[in-house]
């Protein structure tokens, strides 16, 4: 084992992140006989996966027998505006039912149909009722199930341990990472034959977000610094329904399940405005009138789906337009009304945590009054570029899965496709790592100098007596990203954002931290800021280059999709290996689509 000046551990497979993807990867690798370690910034079971509400998409066909992987594939590609990695979309659609059934074998208790099968619910962009769920707390069920499985297998979990940087061997392969314990501030090195990035998203760089403090893009950033590429970083999902009032909960998620279960969006004039915003691409499958849409809830053959269930990017943009046109609610959102459409008993049974959340945090009884909602930064479609089948990045030994990986969702993710993404590609990453190890060409050394440099950089803020408060920098960054790289973008503002990000980089180099190293949140934030800046810069750069509007990337100066831009992803790379080294973007052609998949997309509705 490597001689390290710090506490040191060695693993075959080291997983960074203990959400759904990380835990599923751990199970797979350990079942293949490998020594597995999981590192998480928080306690086990607290990852952002718990916030997923509506369900996990899998074409099991329990409600609609017509459903199958081919329809799910098509829905995913259309929802992603064809920017997706088609092989990922294929694997995801094919494998998600098995991953759901497997969760049940490990103890998950999904809601049931009358004949005892797993109940599935309707969601935006999914042609059939496809989301297996547990009320509106499906993410909690998923993480708890995987967590309990991991615990029963005896996997090593390093909790409240923050990874600073990946470490290579002399041949450029991944050899592990360097981290510190939050509780003590002591450093620790991990050498590993493979590292799986499963660190989730980046939403904390925006002011109004559904993401927790953890969503700082650590995995995105570390992979980029280590030599991997990031794709689709301009594609950010603003979930249409976040809470807007009180301010303290602004951005908190309101599940799409409210609309799936009959809730409608109303403007200040009381009009169901979504019917005015049906794009051509979805017209054939969307109801023409409110009456037709309402029939669909009871009987999917009696009408087409209501316009409220368009994909999230369409709904978020429509809400934004209504508010700008002066038809918003008092606190700058619109109304989401289920009270006038379903009985209080139904609402409390189907949406218990939404009931709870509004009652306790906003003093609103959703069985009696409409909710005030507006778009919130929720999810990044972009992420580390990987090979679909193995989750391997371009750096030998480095893998990525879940929200940290890019490709599956293209320019826009359908609700419910995230939880299934975690388990399908978490498993594939574990398998990919195992196969890489089996092939034998693994790291032969551990570059301690890389680790030492990261440690020194992490400690620098303690040596500055005068310097900036990391909280102030984070606050200013969030304000700036919300204003200039938000839901609707334009060229001059993106250029302005890029300039401002350079200034932020200088500010980050001047952070001063007060207090000691033991459980010091100010210091912890100081070590998160380089990641936040890296992902913010990647998003601003890719957004400035994509001169069109597509999915989760909307340009007011280029309001339409441009077929030329549908041929490639922007792939970001970093020259220099550090957070403040320059980044650049190149066009990375989309994976050619096999004819049999093309045929699925061309099928008429």
């Amino acid at each position: 084992m490597t001689d390290s000046p710090y506490e040191h551990h060695a693993y075959d497979v080291l997983i960074i992140g203990a959400g759904g993807a990380g835990l599923r990867a751990a199970i797979e690798a350990q079942q293949r006989g490998l020594k597995v370690g999981i590192i998480t910034k928080s306690l086990l079971g607290k990852a952002h996966t718990v916030m997923a509400e509506g369900g996990i998409a899998a074409a099991m066909g329990n409600i609609s027998e017509e459903d199958n992987w081919m329809v799910h594939f098509r829905d995913t590609m259309r929802g992603g505006k064809y920017l997706n990695n088609n092989r990922m979309a294929e694997l995801h659609a094919k494998e998600s039912p098995d991953r759901v059934w497997e969760l049940e074998q490990w103890g998950a208790l999904f809601d049931r149909t009358k004949d005892g099968k797993i109940l599935q619910r309707d969601f935006g962009g999914h042609r059939y009722a496809r989301l297996a769920h547990v009320g509106d707390r499906t993410g909690l069920e998923l993480i708890r199930t995987l967590q309990q499985k991991v615990v029963s297998m005896g996997t090593d979990v390093f909790m409240e341990c923050k990874v600073l940087k990946l470490v290579h061997d002399d041949g450029g392969r991944i050899a592990g990472c360097v981290a510190y314990w939050r509780a003590t501030g002591e450093f620790v090195t991990f050498e590993a034959k493979t590292v799986i990035i499963a660190t989730g998203g980046v939403g904390k760089s925006w002011k109004f977000t559904s993401n927790s403090w953890e969503g700082t893009g650590d995995g995105h950033a570390m992979a980029l610094w280590a030599g991997a590429k990031l794709i689709d970083m301009e594609c950010i999902q603003f979930h249409p329904t976040g809470m807007v009032w009180p301010l303290s909960v602004r951005g908190l998620l309101v599940t799409e399940g409210v609309r799936g279960d009959g809730g409608v969006l109303l403007n200040s004039e009381g009009k169901r405005f979504m019917f005015n915003y049906v794009p051509e691409m979805f017209r054939a499958e969307t109801a023409d009138t409110e009456e037709e849409g309402d029939k669909w809830y009871d009987d999917h053959s009696a009408g087409r789906r209501p316009a409220e269930l368009l994909p999230r990017d369409e709904v978020a943009r429509a809400i934004n337009t209504e508010v700008k046109a002066g038809r918003g609610s008092p606190h700058g959102g619109v109304y989401l009304d289920i009270a006038s459409r379903r009985t209080p008993e139904y609402i409390r049974r189907r949406l218990p945590s939404m009931y709870h959340q509004f009652m306790e945090l906003a003093g609103v009884d959703i069985t009696k009054e409409p909710m005030e909602i507006g778009p919130t930064c929720h999810y990044i479609m972009g992420g580390v570029q990987v090979v679909a089948d193995t989750a391997a990045t371009s750096v030998p030994g480095l893998f990525a899965a879940g929200e940290a990986a890019g490709g599956l969702h293209g320019a826009n993710r359908l609700g419910g496709n995230s939880l299934s993404d975690l388990v399908v590609f978490g498993r594939r990453a574990g398998k990919g790592a195992a196969e890489y190890i089996e092939a034998g060409d693994v790291a032969t050394s551990f570059n301690m100098e890389e680790a030492e440099a990261a440690v020194k950089e992490a400690l620098d803020p303690f040596d500055r007596d005068e310097g900036e408060n990391p909280y102030t920098i984070q606050h200013d960054l969030q304000e700036m990203m919300q204003e200039l790289v938000g839901i609707i973008r334009n060229g001059p503002e993106l250029e302005e954002a890029k300039g401002k990000l350079d200034v932020f980089a200088e500010r980050v180099k001047n952070i001063a931290v007060k207090g000691g190293r033991a459980y010091n949140p100010g210091w912890n934030l100081a070590t998160d800021l380089p990641s936040m800046l890296t992902v913010s810069r990647s998003t601003a750069l890719a957004a400035s280059l994509r001169k069109e509007s597509r999915g989760g990337h909307t340009r007011e100066d280029y309001p339409n999709p441009d077929p030329e831009f549908a041929k490639f992803n922007f792939a970001i790379s970093n020259e220099g290996g550090n957070w403040d080294s320059p980044i650049s973007a190149a066009e990375s052609p989309l994976l050619p689509m096999p004819d049999e998949l093309k045929a699925l997309l061309e099928e008429a509705y």
Binding site: E141, V151, S248, S353, G515, A518
Partner: protein, 259 residues
Amino acid sequence: MADVTMRIWRGDATGGDFENYTIAQNEGEVVLDVIHRIQATEAPDLACRWNCKAGKCGSCSAEINGKPRLMCMTRMDQLPEGPVTVTPMKAFPIIRDLVTDVSFNFEMAKRVPALLPPPMPEGGYRMFQQDVERGQEFRKCIECFLCQDVCHVIRDHEENKANYAGPRFFIRYAELEMHPLDTNDRRELLKEEMGLGYCNITKCCTEVCPEHIHITDNAIIPLKERVVDADYDPVAWLGRKIRRRTKKTAAEASVQPAP
């Protein structure tokens, strides 16, 4: 709005004391908002644990005015006028300020015998809503460990921890014991090693549960009955097993062909 005074315990395992912070507050805020404002301004090193700020992850447990609560779900405007006291959970060792070492719970989790279901039939298991609902109530648990914190068996008796699972894990055991597919039997373990008998059903755990799980009535009391039944009256136990929709009959149902 008027400023508020927060009395926050600061220190570590070696000791500590209260510090007062007088700070602005806004309409609709929760305790965690005010703690965050203190961090961002006066005390960047004030340690507290949090993640989702939505009552879903169970990270920000503390004692507010002496009562175990989630800081993210406690609205400032619902606390009495005057200073607000925030202290770390008492049942666990202090790491720093409001952060405690909750590893006891993760150790207890390791001792739970896992679900043991029959092989899955083609097309998935069949289970019925009324059978999964009992377990679903317990699976709402967000592992905030407030029930563990308030439980007097361990709150004031560190020595009991080695042999006492606590309310959080009693609902976990109850969930598994009531699981329609489970074939494991954990009753002996509950009695001999998990200290089920120590609980004298004062319902403190139920009172503090932010998920409103009926920990005592729906989990602990039925578990106690099962353990007692197994010990003293096998015939009555068997009778009840058959009359109720038990996990065994449901497991059999699960392998029947689809209707």
